[in-house]
Amino acid sequence: MRETEILVIGGGPAGIRAAITAAELGAEVLLCERDGWLGGQLIKQTGKFFGREYAGQRGFEICADLLAKLHNTAKIDIWLDCPVLGIYEDGVVSCQKKDRLEKIKPQRMIIATGAAENFLAFAGNDLPGVISAGAAETLMHMSGVVPAQRALMVGAGNIGLTVSYQMIQSGVEVAAVIEAAPQIGGYLVHASKLARTGVPIKTGYTIQEAYGEGKVEGARIMRLDETWRPIPGSEEDIACDAICLAVGLNPLAELCWQAGCQMELIRELSGHVPLTDENLQTTIEGIYVAGDICGPEEATTAMAEGKLAGANAAASLGYDTEQAQAARLAALAELGELRAGPMSARIKTGLDKLREKGAAKHA
């Protein structure tokens, strides 16, 4: 059985940042990543970031810097191709490593497993060619493969807008972006750069059906009224060989459930999330969380949360130096700043609800 001071589960932006922060403070860290590479979804993002620390840098460039830092930090051991399978009552964690079952006994744990893309109910949604927006991004940027000739994007949040733009960069014709809400959910600058290439963004529209013989050949979309009901007679056919779904994410929190963390269903945080305190510690002492598992947000906030969880986990082990305090305060300030704008209103409402549940539990 492998012993370690801190086990970080998940090698995306939150997990990497958590590992670096904790190790820099002196803690011994083991980082487990299910894939054969690190970087999570950040490694495939080609758009430029907003925020302060990383503004203007592209996602994969930020990822490269983060990985360089990770590999230059002492006291971090990395296990790739190593999915964590279970967390047991006695604090032992099991994982699969090179076709063997390995056991790990950590003193602290930071779970940063991210989120998964949602699916959507409509007729024909199981036809080959109905793919997640992230799948299109993965095909393009990890393998250099064109995902479709002509695609329909469902969802005008940041993922739907940016992946549509990326598809054009890869030579795909984007037929339209449809969005059920009456307004665009993502950043308007993303919407505008798409609109001026001639891609229609149709708010108040839903997909009714995907059709085709054995694979997607087209989609039928419909307009929605103010009560989100489809308007009869408003059907339009869109010829396409891919329908990309960008209809939100849900936290990958199975390990938290299994560990017995108290879970709360918070709509604004996109599903069940672990109840946490201001240190990002769950209701199980020694188990921390960071990133999209706390409610899907941006990579910038995931990294800040990673820093916060890493600093707190290290501090709780006795590495409670001025440096730990400084890292903690810097992460909190960063989160405060990133969430100050109107685009974070939903997340903030969700986090407030979560804190209320926490307060109710203490009372």
Binding site: F50, I168, L188, V189, S192, R196, T197, G341
Partner: protein, 164 residues
């Protein structure tokens, strides 16, 4: 309407467009930035301090017509690709419009490119005056196009490929 289709309305644009007077004085940049998001490279990187964001990084950029000399350094730096350059004094009868570009193939100076407005509608063919890389490692290019003055505030994109 911007929030419905990504295309800013005349009213929305009127909040960010420079005055006729200022346009007549020489080149400017225009930040078509309408939404509070956490972002500040324009303010941080302008060599003349023409953009300022203020305390809250989410605030909209404020542009100083006197400080901006239209150098256009910010065009390829804006992560939202929302800054454009306009020089109404470019020549006797033409303006110069500079826009950020991230598609391939890129046009070459001297070629004609199909110009598009903010909604992707075709405006006709425009001569490419300059194609400039946004700086070392920056894959955003800046394309400068000669345009009749009356289209300088419409032209915001070119169609990738099909240059002549």
């Amino acid at each position: 309407m911007l929030k419905q289709d990504g295309i800013p309305s005349k009213e929305e644009l009127s909040r960010v467009l420079p005055s006729e007077q200022r346009l007549a004085q020489g080149p400017v940049v225009i930040a078509e930035c309408f939404q509070r998001i956490p972002c500040d490279p324009c303010a941080r990187r302008c060599p003349r301090g023409a953009f300022s964001i203020g305390e809250d990084i989410n605030d909209l950029p404020r542009w100083d017509a006197e400080l901006c000399d239209g150098c256009g350094d910010c065009i390829a730096l804006c992560p939202g690709m929302a800054i454009f350059g306009v020089d109404m004094t470019y020549s006797k009868d033409q303006a110069l419009v500079s826009l950020p570009f991230e598609f391939v193939p890129r046009p070459k100076p001297g070629q004609m490119a199909l110009g598009l407005d903010r909604g992707g509608r075709e405006l006709g063919w425009f001569e490419v005056a300059d194609v400039k890389c946004g700086g070392e490692g920056n894959k955003t290019y800046v394309i400068a196009l000669k345009a009749p003055r009356e289209l300088a505030m419409e032209l915001r994109q070119i169609k990738a490929g099909g240059y002549r």
